[in-house]
């Protein structure tokens, strides 16, 4: 086994342990919330999922910028891998948010700024993936992806501002008075944030490696067909 294989393996084990710990923290360690009951426990995973969603889309933006500067296809690979993971995680944010909303506000969907911003983000990056399937030229695809990744991420704060002025209903967790959470809940939240970040890094790593290997295989195939 190469060094990188061992690193991926160890990271996988660590991620598994961290996720197990955060599951324990969320279900057993923290007390039951008084008004909302058990459904409040979704929150320990909902918020980290949202954080990973934003982080993943930020990496898409970063990968796009680096690709346009350096022209190296590996940055495009990073951006695309991150977009894919970001779409998976933001889908989960929407679903868990929806389940929470059904219990808390008795409706599957509310047009509140964070939920709606997430939905718009989700649409932008689903479009990004659809576009990638429609372009065959590797270089052109990378360039278009980079520009969409940049424009999409730049748009996020503006979308958020616009929708916040438009309507608001989400529970405000971080207010001027400080966090509205018990200390044990806060610990569980941070453990969960950390372990989901690990999960993201792990998934990104295996996805990026797969993408690189696929690029190399593609190159070999082209060279072979030239020779034969």
């Amino acid at each position: 086994m190469k060094k990188i294989d061992i690193a991926v393996f160890v990271l996988g084990i660590l991620t598994f342990l961290a996720i197990s710990l955060s599951l324990y923290m969320a279900f057993i360690y923290t007390p039951l919330e008084r008004t909302m009951g058990a459904v409040q426990k979704i929150f320990y995973f909902h918020l980290p999922l949202a954080w990973i969603g934003f982080l993943a889309f930020f990496i898409v933006f970063l990968g796009g910028v680096l690709y346009l500067i350096t022209g190296s296809i590996k940055w495009d690979n990073l951006a695309y891998s991150s977009a894919e993971i970001g779409v998976v995680f933001s889908t989960l944010v929407l679903i868990t948010g929806s389940i929470w909303a059904k219990r808390a506000w008795n409706t599957w969907w509310t047009w509140d700024p964070r939920l709606t911003t997430m939905l718009i983000l989700w649409m932008i990056y689903v479009g990004y993936i659809m576009m990638r399937n429609a372009v065959d030229n590797v270089e052109r695809r990378a360039k278009i992806s980079a520009v969409i990744g940049i424009a999409g991420f730049v748009d996020v704060p503006i979308v958020f501002m616009a929708i916040r002025w438009w309507r608001t209903m989400h529970p405000l967790l971080i207010t001027s008075k400080g966090m509205g959470l018990a200390p044990s809940m806060l610990t569980a939240l941070f453990v969960s944030l950390g372990s989901f970040t690990l999960l993201y890094v792990y998934l990104l790593l295996i996805r990026v490696r797969l993408g690189l290997a696929m690029n190399i295989a593609e190159e070999i195939k082209i060279r072979l067909s030239d020779k034969l």
Partner: protein, 50 residues
């Protein structure tokens, strides 16, 4: 009690989706390995090993 059901379904969906995504990556990887094996035999057959 109803609250627990909501919680349960949310967690099931989360882990199901992340699990299937990981499996999907794994499947792609297996296919790639097979492809590389094929290329290797092809290269050996035509004595093109670089």
């Amino acid at each position: 009690m109803k609250s627990l059901w909501y919680l349960f379904s949310a967690y099931t969906i989360i882990w199901f989706l992340i699990w299937s995504y990981t499996m999907w990556i794994g499947r792609k990887q297996t296919r790639l390995f097979k492809e590389i094996e094929r290329l290797k035999t092809l290269m050996a057959k035509h004595d093109l090993s670089e």
